[in-house]
């Protein structure tokens, strides 16, 4: 692999890992606060799964760079500042209410499912293998979040209103998950990753009818943000700083500590 392609792959893996880490961390904030005990356990499991997936991607990136897996993942998670994180803004937004959290998780799961299925065809074998493994867990996540979205969308007037509010808010951020970078083009040409626009088309084909069935009004067409509003992955909201200060606090107290 030439150095340019290598760097592009590392950037891609880091973006995937950061998305999962930050979303997993946000979800973990419900631990002890979910609406019922059973859901508290279920959602904490999902949060753990997402963080577990993040570790898989960090470790793949370490392998590409020839770095040691453990130290690389820890360095990436605990010792990068917000501008170095490559997660999409959608996953760093505060957890909001239960409707917002569930809908965010559903929208992310569906996008991830589509991407993972494509990644199982990647010409970079370690990536294809990792995607196949993670895929089986995502089937379950999707089943869980779909069950909630359907019930809240079709539930009471209040639950439907909260879901619609969450949808309107989240859709402003959703497109960022699909915006390609120049590096993505290199990776696409090497058959390592799928084309971002294709991912978006497939994902929308799945979420739009599902949301309609759940009595929610999805955004019109595929262009829900507008061409002037492209958000780059180094741009973050102020919420990421708050999240990281919590996530990194202990590790930074004593960077040399052995765990």
């Amino acid at each position: 692999m030439n150095p340019e392609l290598k760097q592009a792959l590392v950037d891609y893996l880091l973006a995937m890992a950061d998305d999962e880490l930050i979303l997993g961390h946000r979800n973990s904030e419900w631990c002890g606060h979910a609406p019922i005990l059973e859901e508290d356990i279920a959602f904490a499991n999902i949060a753990l799964d997402e963080i577990g997936h993040a570790i898989v991607w960090y470790e793949l990136a370490a392998d590409v760079l020839g770095e040691e897996r453990d130290t690389y993942a820890n360095r990436m998670v605990y010792f990068r500042d917000a501008p170095d994180y490559r997660n999409a803004q959608m996953v760093e937004l505060p957890k909001g209410d239960w409707a917002f959290t569930m809908l965010r998780q559903y929208l992310f799961d569906q996008f991830e499912m589509v991407r993972l299925e494509k990644l199982t065809q990647s010409s970079y074998t370690p990536l294809a293998e990792a995607a196949a493994k993670i895929c089986t867990e995502e089937i379950y996540h999707l089943r869980h979040t779909q069950a909630w979205v359907r019930r809240l969308g079709l539930g009471t007037e209040e639950s439907n209103r909260r879901m619609q509010t969450a949808l309107n808010e989240l859709m402003r951020y959703y497109e960022q998950l699909f915006s390609p970078s120049l590096a993505d083009t290199l990776l696409f040409e090497a058959n390592i990753v799928p084309f971002q626009t294709e991912l978006m088309v497939h994902t929308l084909e799945l979420i739009v009818p599902f949301l309609v069935e759940a009595n929610l009004i999805p955004p019109r067409g595929s262009n829900f943000v507008g061409p002037n509003d492209v958000i780059y992955r180094h741009e973050h909201t102020e919420h990421l700083n708050d999240l990281l200060s919590n996530l990194q606090q202990v590790a930074r107290l004593d960077p040399m500590a052995k765990w």
Binding site: E38, A42, N45, L48, T136, I139, Y140, A147, R151
Partner: protein, 183 residues
């Protein structure tokens, strides 16, 4: 006052194909589908699950050995009325510490009739407590669910309490302290 609590579902899980379903515990859920999902998260954190059933707790007809002994006429008075029958699952708890486990099926007209049939059909089972419930009241996982619902637990050893050694480490430290305190 309205009860806002969701109904309870009994969770029955099977560890291997050749073993009976056993009672794992209960979950609250608004409906059977959510109950099945909740059951997976609460009770399949460790591997060894090939099938999961959920049934609404209030659809389970139950009698203890003492109740049956106290009212010997009760069973005798139950007669078939010639109305349509359906399949009932029979579960029994055989030891104080043991869980309810699947004994078999009977065809009966109603829950009480099902229990009478069960006692006749399975005389060798010394049940301390019996459960019967209509087979159609059960929501079951499908063989397709195994990979997504149960298989991932096998690689998540961090969910298994046996992998957390805090307690044994703590005991070791305390032992050390005790020895060093000795004169």
């Amino acid at each position: 006052m309205t009860d806002t609590q969701w109904p309870r579902y009994m969770v029955l899980h099977q560890e291997q194909d050749n073993k009976p379903h056993q009672h794992a515990g209960t979950v609250h859920a608004p409906d059977a589908e959510m109950a099945l999902l909740n059951a997976r998260d609460v009770f399949v954190r460790r591997p060894d699950c090939v099938s999961l059933w959920v049934v609404r707790a209030d659809l389970i007809f139950t009698r203890t050995q003492e109740e049956l002994a106290l009212h010997p006429d009760w069973l005798g008075n139950i007669q078939a009325a010639g109305v349509p029958t359906e399949i009932y699952y029979v579960f029994a708890k055989r030891t104080q510490k043991g869980q309810f486990s699947h004994v078999g099926e009977v065809e009966a007209e109603n829950p009480a009739h099902a229990l009478k049939m069960a006692l006749q059909q399975y005389p060798a089972v010394d049940g301390l407590v019996w459960w019967v419930f209509p087979a159609k009241a059960v929501l079951k996982s499908t063989p397709d669910d195994i990979e997504a619902m149960f298989a991932p637990a096998a690689v998540k050893d961090f969910r298994d309490q046996a992998n957390f050694h805090a307690l044994s480490v703590l005991r070791k430290l305390m032992r050390k302290q005790e020895t060093s305190n000795e004169p």
